[in-house]
């Protein structure tokens, strides 16, 4: 069971194609005895038991070989109710109930985000779903947090700050994880104990309680204002991620596990490319995503295809809850996400190694921000390092950004650009024109992909306050830094510099 590598896939018996009709003469490729029930990869038929063993092994191997999750570490399982994340929660449940040698040793909790308002569900439907969700959460026995997406309206701006170090490369990430684990242990030793015992099990609702009608309305207004389904999907994903991270930080979780399957990741990779997020593919689709610094997102289901997940859930009665999503019943060309999904799955139907080929590509991507950008500013929304290249005016990104004031441009250049409109004659602060326009203020802090996406939001004022105030804060900070720099450089710009500070 241990040869999970590519040779194993490649060397799978390809010989005579499996008999097409009747199961009588066909045996499981693994044990050569059992009656096969599922065909995975290119024509490998597995019996129920061998399939289960393979499935469980993949999950544990994924966690084991990455060496990212430490004993005793608090891990938040992001559960949507869908098949993959349900299967993940189930795997963890099973893993924790095993005998001591093989037991998973981290401390899990589950978070559920109720996205009903964004998807236009009626209050009655939402209440029904939530009741079902809570019942399912209670049966896991894990601490759980059911949070309404509306809570993004009460997030603090600090939710967008990337605390602490981001480790570069896997080795650094490993060290960072060790550090956070040690801190964790320390915290548990002192005040963490009562925090852990008090949280959730009996008081699962966050202190703010159910969302207010005003918040629900604000959220639906925001989503209604978005012009395309593509942008809606992206916005929903952004807000959901912020909320999950906030929950994780508030409750001391240092890892978040999401249930992205390999099929989903292959689709996501192609979608991200189409959305202009090519620079961040490694973070968006890799096993671990360290962009948030203190909380690392991991994707332990990334070796499982959706077919395997669906079969496992069916054969072993893993419960899942089907809630309508943004794109439920949407036609195939309704969004880039939808289109990419249809494209990949249709290719997969004809060429069974499509998904694995795309997925393997994502595995080979290396997380290396452009030289000199690693410590630079982050995208306000997706938190990736902004790889702004001011000199690169030939690309779409360059063309898009050239008219926006750059935070990194040398002072003189910035002043030259800003000079005529606000500093000259008016005696105003430098950069006042960009501060006047909140849209430009937000836009200049986004990566290319998020900028393109925000174009479909006619009014940014509908965004939750934490995003707007953080944008303002950052922009003020940038201006202040610039002023200080001006002051230090002094001399030729003496009058302007001293006058304003």
């Amino acid at each position: 069971m241990c040869e999970m590598s590519e040779e194993y896939r490649e060397s799978a018996p390809k010989g005579p194609p499996p008999p097409r009709l009747g199961t009588g003469d066909q045996k499981c490729v693994k044990c050569k005895e059992g009656l096969p029930v599922v065909v995975i990869r290119a024509g490998d038929a597995f019996c129920r038991d061998c399939f289960k063993a393979l499935y469980v092994h993949k999950f544990r191997a994924m966690l084991g070989k990455s060496r990212l999750i430490f004993p005793g570490e608090k891990v938040l399982l992001a559960w949507s109710g869908g098949p993959s994340s349900s299967s993940m929660v189930w795997q963890v449940l099973e893993g924790l109930s095993r005998d001591s040698a093989k037991r998973l040793r981290f401390v899990p909790g589950v978070v559920y985000i109720d996205e009903g308002a964004a998807c236009g569900q009626s209050p009655e439907d939402r209440a029904r779903t939530l009741a079902e969700v809570k019942l399912a959460l209670q049966t896991t026995g894990f601490p759980w947090h059911a949070v309404a997406l509306e809570e993004v309206f009460s997030l603090p701006p600090s939710a967008l700050r990337c605390s602490a170090q981001e480790a570069a490369g896997t080795e650094g990430a490993y060290k960072a994880a060790v550090d956070s684990f040690l801190q964790q242990q320390h915290a548990l030793g002192t005040n963490g104990v009562e925090r852990q015992s008090q949280h959730c099990a009996q008081d699962p609702q966050s202190p703010t309680g159910p969302p207010t009608t005003a918040q629900t309305q604000a959220l639906s207004r925001l989503f209604d204002s978005v012009k395309t389904l593509t942008a809606k999907e992206e916005l929903l994903q952004t807000l959901r991620t912020h909320l999950i991270l906030h929950v994780a930080r508030n409750h001391g979780y240092s890892k978040v596990m999401t249930g992205d399957s390999c099929t989903r990741l292959a689709i996501k990779l192609m979608t991200s490319l189409a959305l202009g997020r090519g620079a961040f593919l490694a973070w968006d689709t890799g096993f671990s995503d360290e962009r948030h610094g203190d909380v690392v997102v991991v994707r332990p289901m990334r070796e499982h295809t959706l077919k395997e997940v669906a079969f496992y859930n069916r054969l072993f009665a893993v419960p899942s809850i089907c809630t309508p999503a943004l794109d439920t019943k949407a036609p195939e060309k309704a969004s880039i996400h939808r289109l990419m999904e249809a494209f990949i799955l249709r290719l997969q139907a004809q060429f069974p190694s499509t998904v694995s080929t795309v997925y393997r590509t994502s595995e080979k991507l290396v997380k290396a921000p452009r030289a000199g950008c690693a410590a630079g500013p982050r995208c306000l929304l997706c938190m990736c390092t902004l790889d702004v290249d001011t000199a690169d005016s030939a690309t779409a990104f360059g063309a898009q950004t050239s008219h926006l004031p750059q935070m990194q441009t040398p002072v003189t250049q910035a002043r030259a650009a800003a000079g005529p409109c606000c500093c000259a004659g008016m005696g105003g602060a430098p950069g006042c024109c960009k501060r006047e326009d909140p849209r430009a203020q937000v836009m200049e802090q986004l990566c290319y992909g998020c900028r393109v996406n925000m174009k479909d939001l006619p009014s940014l004022e509908l965004l939750p306050p934490y995003i707007l105030s953080e944008a303002q804060l950052r922009s003020q900070r940038a201006t202040a830094e610039q002023e200080i720099r001006e002051y230090l450089l002094g001399d030729s710009e003496d009058e302007a510099g001293t006058g304003e500070s």
Partner: protein, 101 residues
């Protein structure tokens, strides 16, 4: 002439939303000249059970890529896919793995 068959047709993973949200359907397939196979079952489903947007369930003469078919809890790829001949009391399950069902 094939005799009428009684089969259970089930939808999951969100596919049931195209069938008025009903997951399990106990159906009787009328007797016909040709034996019933999955191909003809799909035609029958499209005509008799499917409530809306057939293109989200059926493409060509098969199911849309991303929808899995299980016959008596076994992968239909083991059974000849569209050519599998239905037996009386078979259960056929369609699971959507598509985003949003």
């Amino acid at each position: 002439m094939a005799a009428p068959l009684s089969v259970e047709v089930e939808f999951g993973g969100g596919a049931e939303l195209l069938f008025d949200g009903v997951k399990k359907h106990q159906v009787t397939l009328p007797g016909q000249e040709e034996p019933w196979d999955i191909r003809s079952l799909l035609v029958w489903i499209k005509k008799n059970l499917l409530k809306e947007r057939p293109e989200l369930f059926i493409q060509g003469d098969s199911v849309r890529p991303g929808i899995l078919v299980l016959v008596n809890d076994a992968d239909w790829e083991l059974l000849g896919e569209l050519d599998y001949q239905l037996q009386d009391q078979d259960s056929v399950l369609f699971i959507s793995t598509l985003h949003g069902g």
